[in-house]
């Protein structure tokens, strides 16, 4: 122990070991803080104005179609016994609704963020791994097997509760309905569609037979492989509506993208006029006192309409300005007293 060389016993005389590292010692003095606050304040007010104005330009059209009131068009569909109910919601635009117009549906008092609900899916099924078709994960319970003990694919509460109201939009020109083409592509996250979710490989050229031995979710009218028979790229787990639904909303009041209006005569937006919306009313919400909404909106660089950000920036910016002024006054006073001391 003591035989070690003397040199090794001696502490290194480096700046680090002696704690003499050159150090920058910033002092938040008035000279820095007051201009800093002024600059931040100005910048924030600038951004705030920009945000606020942008938000103001965004057009939003919201309609509740739950059918609570007796005179509302969809009241009839709220009665349990009615099957395949359709109802018609009309609205009119007094000016051009600038495109591209985004068509959202909204639900309130709907808890997609329930914990049990949230974990109730089998990711391996959704990557198209047919091994897991036969034995869904436990977390899917009670949506893993039907009453005859057949495995459900896709299993779980999220998939089972997929929103299944469908809409058709018509512009009414001189009493005739002109269908507004709705674009269902690109409404889900690119990575969800292209990477995260995968369809099972077709068996013997038939996509449906990949699902052999499984049953559709209980609440679904049709099986996963029948979600969009017109477009194989929008079918199965890659159905965009399905993907949108599978991305759980953060709050109990949410909206999800349904369609975009980007094609044909409506690429520039919805012209002024009367419109009729045919709702295939399937989704029950009244049992948990929920509401269903339709939202037409266009977006800007900051996304959908949201006044909050602009206002927040304006408020914080002004706060900074006020504080800068207050500090200026305080410092002016303090500086005098300091000079008195000196």
């Amino acid at each position: 122990m003591k035989n070690e060389g003397e040199a090794t016993e001696r502490p290194d005389n480096t700046a680090f070991t002696q704690q003499w590292l050159p150090a920058w010692q910033p002092i938040l003095s008035a000279g820095i803080v007051i201009p800093g606050f002024l600059i931040i304040g100005l910048a924030f007010i600038g951004i705030g104005i920009g945000l606020f104005l942008t938000s103001q330009t965004i057009q939003v059209l919201e309609m509740d179609y739950t059918g609570i009131e007796k005179d509302s068009p969809c009241f009839r569909c709220t009665i349990q016994s009615v099957q395949n109910c359709t109802c018609e919601v009309t609205f009119s635009l007094s000016a051009l609704f600038t495109g591209p117009v985004f068509f959202y549906y909204g639900l309130s008092n709907y808890f997609q963020n329930f914990r049990k609900y949230g974990v109730s899916k089998d990711y391996y099924q959704l990557t198209g791994d047919t091994q897991y078709f036969k034995s869904p994960r436990d977390v899917c319970s009670p949506y893993s097997y039907d009453s005859k003990n057949n495995p459900i694919v896709p299993c779980g509460a999220i998939a089972n509760s997929m929103f299944n109201d469908t809409f058709e939009l018509y512009q009414i020109i001189n009493g005739t309905k002109k269908k507004v083409p709705l674009d269902g592509k690109g409404i889900s996250w690119w990575t969800d569609y292209n990477i995260k979710y995968r369809n099972p490989l077709s068996v013997n050229g038939s996509f449906a037979s990949a699902f052999d031995g499984t049953v559709k979710p209980i609440n679904w009218p049709k099986a996963a492989y029948e979600l969009d028979l017109t477009d194989p790229n929008n079918n199965g787990f890659l159905n965009q509506d399905f993907l949108v639904w599978m991305r759980r909303a953060a709050l109990p009041q949410f909206r999800k993208l349904y369609r975009r209006i980007t094609e044909g005569d409506y690429a520039m937006g919805l012209p002024a006029g009367n419109y009729s919306l045919t709702v295939h009313y399937n989704y029950p919400v009244l049992s948990f006192d929920g509401r269903k909404k339709l939202v037409f909106s266009n977006v800007s660089w900051m996304g959908g309409k949201n006044d909050f950000l602009g206002i927040a920036y304006l408020v914080v910016g002004s706060l900074c300005m006020v504080m800068a002024v207050v500090m200026l006054i305080v410092y002016a006073k303090f500086k005098f007293s300091e000079e008195d001391d000196a």
């Binding site: 150090a23 049990k116 990477i195 709050l251 993208l257 948990f288 900051m302 927040a312």
Partner: protein, 1115 residues
């Protein structure tokens, strides 16, 4: 046989049933009934805590005794058992990490202890076995082995000295590492033992091991063929203690009596309880607060959940049906599991990594102490050594300093300063200017008579030469160069002038050396005759008749010598108080003035007296002394009485002053310590006089200090019993020091420089044991509290004649007193070990390093995790109280370990929120730091409020943003994981930037760590969300972070929330700054006050470097 029985009946010590019998050399002895080899413990010393086998369970047990660890274990188990929102990994992984890191650290430290133990235990020792010397490992020594030890070796166990290479059957021993007394002590062989140790048939009966170093009772039976066994009584002078070192003796042999953990040294070690720092204790207090918050949160959520569920359709909407098992579960059981789930969800409010951070900080911080160049001693080529890293932060909070004297305060290096002969003062330092080396600097009233008479002078010097127990060092006495400081240029270079002396006390050497300066040289003791060389270079020879040894009660020693001419002389030297009553009063008056002046100078003073004994007187004394010495019972009392009888009617010749050289700048250090508001207690095994003069010398006692003495001497009272006197004195002192003292505001007037009367308190070991263990148990608490109160009101306390365990007792008592102050012990020997173990901080060298840990630990706790978990809590109101986590599990797990811990660590290690120079110049700053100021409830509350504010801000800021979840310009919506990720990003940035705001000392490491951990967060998020992880059952964070960054709104909300949550902190920093106590503006004015301070910083007090040097004007 008969005699043995008789002995057994007479000998008081023999009545103990549990005495042990030792067979020397394991030989059966003819006289004993049967040779029964008894079982004694082996000679292994174990200071380590763990072995390979018990490390895991024992260490785990110790670790889980910590509240936080135990708590996380519970959480982990809950997660394993109950269906909870987060997987067990989220708390299991950090817990595992924490436990592993701590275990590695503790294991490493224990491994070092093992190594040290092994070094001792495997040390080769020579053992005489069956006529041969055998080399053995020290641990293999058994009781009864005959062990050989050579010079400068330490004794491997407690030995009874049987044989010495010295002719007179003595050996010299230094017990510096045992009780701190580095002088040489003489030990004696058992008289009249056979020369042939190989065949010595003997047994030793002695008491069972006990910790008192100065007590040993035993007897040895030597069996000779066809003779009655001879009996020799054994005392402490025959016992060589483990840990002591053999000096100036070539070789000794001894028989082992106590081994291993039964040696007196080992018994003086105390159990190694894990030291808990006060910071850890307050952390635990905060933990409890947070635990309460956590539980109340969980209770609130559980209650609200069931309230909310009672509404129609909320509990089980059609889209979220329960399965059969859930439906069947008992309602109350469900409530309970819900409660547990909420607990698990919010458990991160108590950061698992807190201990890791604190521990890493301490561990690394201790390296800074080791590395510190200013602690480096070029003489011994060693820097500071940190043995435990657990307690750095305490260094900043010490209130009581306990210090050893010898070697710590003083260099244990005595120097003869001056003497006074018959009222005339001779100053040694002026030797050179006078031909004969005598100078009178301070003359008596009669100016004509400049010196005392020649006769008196010579008598005095002869007395100095003769009245001592000094030995001349034999080995190369001609060459030995002593450490004389003063030049002897006025003298002829005679080699004999510089010789090595060995004595039981260094001041004896100083005196002999002093006499040498004046021309009288002690040449040595040869077969009972002392030779001195006088000024005329003639050799005088004296026959040494008796040595009346020094003892602390008499406080003097004498020799009786016979001159060539047949005169019998008694020379006596001792403390003034013990000499003055025994000499003629008119002589006293002439000398008293000098003595008192010297004493106040801090020198050790001794008075020298002599007496001529007539033949009859000597005969009486001689027989008396011999009888007393041989007495088997009450030997000490008889001797004492005889001594007192002999040492009367002497005449005073003079007095001496000897200086015990203090350590460099010890006085300055002491004053700085007191200036910093600490109370200094000196605990020493030394004599009271020595200790007292040291205290004066290092200005612990000032001239105006009123001393309250509680010693054996003050307790000697004819009228009262000791204990009654003790109580009386205690009450008296208490009245003076506590009740009469003006009420002192704690903390404000802790200064030493107050106008109030300063009190110093002196107590010795014997009295202390009376105080601690009075005969009536009922008085114990009363005594103690009186004692403690007196002590606390004294500026300095001196405890002398302390056994190691008593030192520890004192420390423990103070530690457990009201307010549980932090204590620090400084010592250099094994005698201080238990005291060091007992105190909060062991051999402590206070550095700037300590303080930051204090800041660190409170930093680590409150704010971060509150604002971390509060959004999680608030989210429950929006997800139907379903325990949905807001953040992804990876974030939950990594938050404390990776994202926020490194900056805190760097901050706590490197921050110097007051620069070193300022700290050195200003002791008052230290006071603010002490007393745990940084870890008090006020900042804790402030941080809690701030944390709540930030948590609310984070959550609702994002909540309002998400009122429209379409945040991208492609109209797509964000889900719940995006929500959580935005909140988490704001959180990580805010926390790190807040730390950046608090950092006032930005080294490149701080830059690296702060910006690095932010970059790491971003990198990690990309990485975590950028890959489909095959081992995960859900890819919920896949591309969430990247998508978030593609949204301008998310950016904007992150920026504004960070700024807004930092705003209060910025405002506080800006507004408080100019008026803050640590303001930098003070610096110039400070250095203006003392112009000489620049020179001060280069010459810092040795012991306590970073304390200020207010004292430079006093020096």
């Amino acid at each position: 046989m008969l005699r043995r029985r008789l002995n057994r009946l007479c000998g008081g010590d023999e009545k103990r049933v549990d005495s042990r019998t030792i067979y020397v050399g394991h030989r059966p002895c003819p006289d004993t009934e049967a040779f029964i080899p008894s079982k004694f413990c082996d000679n292994r010393i174990v200071s380590s805590k763990y072995t390979v086998w018990n490390f895991l369970p024992k260490n785990l047990f110790e670790q889980f005794r910590r509240i936080a660890n135990f708590y996380f274990l519970i959480i982990f188990l809950v997660q394993v058992i109950v269906d909870t929102p987060t997987s067990p990994v989220t708390s299991g992984l950090p817990l595992f990490f924490v436990i592993t890191v701590t275990a590695i650290k503790q294991g490493y430290e224990d491994w070092l202890r093992h190594k040290a133990d092994n070094e001792v235990n495997k040390y080769p020792v020579t053992v005489l076995e069956d006529g041969r010397s055998v080399k053995k490992e020290s641990e293999k020594i058994k009781v009864g082995d005959v062990v050989e030890v050579v010079e400068d070796e330490t004794f491997p166990c407690d030995l009874i000295l049987l044989q010495s290479s010295r002719e007179d059957g003595t050996c010299f021993v230094t017990t510096a590492s045992l009780d701190g007394e580095s002088n040489h002590k003489t030990h004696y062989t058992v008289p009249d033992t056979e020369k042939d140790l190989q065949a010595l048939p003997a047994t030793i009966e002695c008491e069972q091991p006990q910790p008192d170093l100065y007590k040993f009772v035993g007897r040895m039976h030597i069996y000779k063929p066809e003779q009655e066994p001879a009996v020799r009584s054994l005392g402490p002078e025959n016992l060589l203690l483990k840990g002591a070192t053999l000096k100036n003796t070539k070789k000794i042999s001894g028989v082992t009596v106590y081994t291993g953990m039964e040696t007196k040294m080992a018994l003086n070690y105390q159990g190694k309880s894990q030291k808990r720092s006060a910071v850890e204790k307050s952390i635990n207090a905060f933990l409890l607060v947070y635990l309460c918050i956590l539980i109340s949160k969980a209770v609130v959520c559980t209650t609200l959940k069931y309230v909310w569920q009672s509404k129609e359709g909320q509990d089980e909407p059609w889209y979220n049906q329960k399965n059969q098992k859930e439906k069947d579960t008992n309602m109350y059981l469900k409530m309970f599991t819900d409660f547990l789930s909420f607990m698990v969800l919010f458990n991160f409010i108590i950061p698992v990594s807190m201990y890791v951070t604190v521990e890493m900080q301490k561990f690394l911080g201790s390296f800074f102490i080791t590395w510190d160049k200013d602690f480096f001693d070029p003489e011994i080529q060693e820097g500071a050594l940190v043995n435990t890293s657990d307690l750095n932060e305490e260094l900043g909070q010490v209130e009581y300093v306990f210090t050893d004297k010898t070697g710590t305060l003083t260099q244990n290096n005595m120097e003869f300063i001056e003497c006074c002969i018959d009222g005339f003062q001779y100053k040694h330092r002026d030797t050179r200017s006078e031909l004969d080396g005598f100078t009178v600097t301070d003359g008596p009233v009669n100016k004509l008579q400049q010196k005392a008479g020649q006769e008196k002078e010579e008598l005095f010097l002869r007395a100095l030469c003769l009245c001592h127990t000094v030995q001349v060092k034999e080995a190369g006495s001609e060459e030995v160069l002593t450490d004389q400081v003063d030049g002897i240029d006025g003298m002829q270079p005679q080699p004999e002038e510089e010789r090595g002396f060995i004595a039981s006390s260094p001041d004896e050497i100083a005196l002999v050396r002093g006499a040498m300066e004046y021309g009288f040289t002690f040449l040595g003791l040869e077969s009972k005759s002392m030779k001195i060389k006088n000024r005329e270079n003639n050799i005088e020879e004296y026959k040494l008749l008796h040595v009346l040894n020094f003892d602390p009660v008499r406080r003097r020693m004498s020799v009786i010598v016979q001159t060539k001419s047949g005169e019998t002389l008694l020379f006596c030297k001792g403390a003034d108080s013990s000499i003055f009553p025994r000499v003629k009063p008119e002589e006293v008056d002439r000398i008293r003035m000098h003595v008192e002046r010297n004493a106040t100078e801090g020198y050790r003073t001794l008075c020298v007296a002599y007496k001529q004994l007539s033949a009859e007187e000597y005969a009486v004394a001689d027989t008396g002394l011999r009888e007393a010495r041989l007495a088997l019972q009450d030997r000490e009392q008889k001797l004492m009485a005889m001594y007192n009888q002999v040492e009367t009617g002497m005449s005073l010749i003079g007095a001496t002053a000897v200086e015990d050289r203090l350590q460099e700048e010890a006085a300055e250090t002491m004053e700085a310590l007191q200036g910093a508001g600490m109370k200094v207690w000196v605990l020493t095994g030394d004599k009271m006089e020595t200790a007292k003069s040291t205290c004066y010398a290092c200005r612990l006692f000032q001239r105006g200090t009123e001393l309250l003495e509680l010693t054996v001497r003050t307790l000697e009272d004819g009228r009262l019993k000791r204990e009654e006197k003790l109580l009386e004195l205690l009450r008296d002192y208490h009245r003076r020091a506590v009740q009469d003292a003006p009420p002192v505001k704690a903390g404000v007037t802790r200064s030493w420089s107050t106008a109030n009367q300063d009190y110093g308190f002196i107590i010795d070991g014997a009295t202390l044991s009376l105080v601690m263990n009075p005969s009536r148990e009922a008085d114990a608490s009363q005594y103690r509290s009186l004692f403690l109160q007196i002590c606390q009101n004294c500026t300095a306390v001196l405890c002398c004649r302390m056994a190691p365990l008593q030192k520890a007792q004192i420390v423990k008592m103070v530690k457990n007193s009201k307010g549980s102050p932090i204590t620090l012990s400084i010592g250099d020997g094994a005698n201080d070990v238990s005291m060091i173990l007992e105190a909060h901080v062991g051999i402590g060298i206070k550095g700037k390093e300590g303080r930051q840990a204090v800041r660190n630990s409170d930093y680590a706790i409150p704010t971060f995790n509150l604002c971390f978990i509060l959004p999680q809590f608030l989210y429950q109101f929006f997800c139907g109280y379903s325990q949905q986590p807001l953040y992804d599990a990876a974030y939950l797990t990594m938050y404390n370990i990776c994202f926020t811990s490194m900056p805190i660590l760097a901050y706590s290690l490197l921050e110097q929120h007051i620069s070193m120079e300022i700290l050195l110049d200003n002791a008052a700053l230290y006071r603010e730091i002490a007393n745990n100021a940084m870890l008090r409830w006020r900042p804790f509350l402030y941080w809690t409020v701030l944390g709540i504010f930030q948590g609310l801000l984070f959550f609702f800021g994002v909540r309002f943003l998400f009122s429209n979840p379409a945040l991208q310009d492609n109209g797509q919506v964000f889900g719940n994981w995006s929500y959580g990720t935005i909140v988490f990003t704001v959180l990580v940035f805010t926390v790190t930037l807040k730390l950046a705001l608090d950092t006032r000392h930005w080294t490149w490491i701080n830059h690296f760590v702060i910006w690095g951990s932010l970059a790491f967060y971003v990198f990690f998020s990309f990485f975590w969300g950028g890959i489909i992880w095959p081992f995960l059952k859900q890819q919920r964070l896949y591309f969430v972070f990247a998508n978030m960054l593609s949204s301008v709104s998310a950016w904007l909300v992150i920026i504004i929330l960070i700024l807004l949550s930092l705003l209060p902190e910025i405002l506080l920093v800006v507004l408080r700054k100019p008026r803050g106590p640590h303001s930098r503006q003070k610096k110039p004015s400070q250095s203006n006050v003392g112009g000489s301070q620049s020179s001060q910083s280069s010459a810092r007090p040795l012991l306590m470097r970073t304390f200020s040097d207010e004292s430079n004007s006093v020096i």
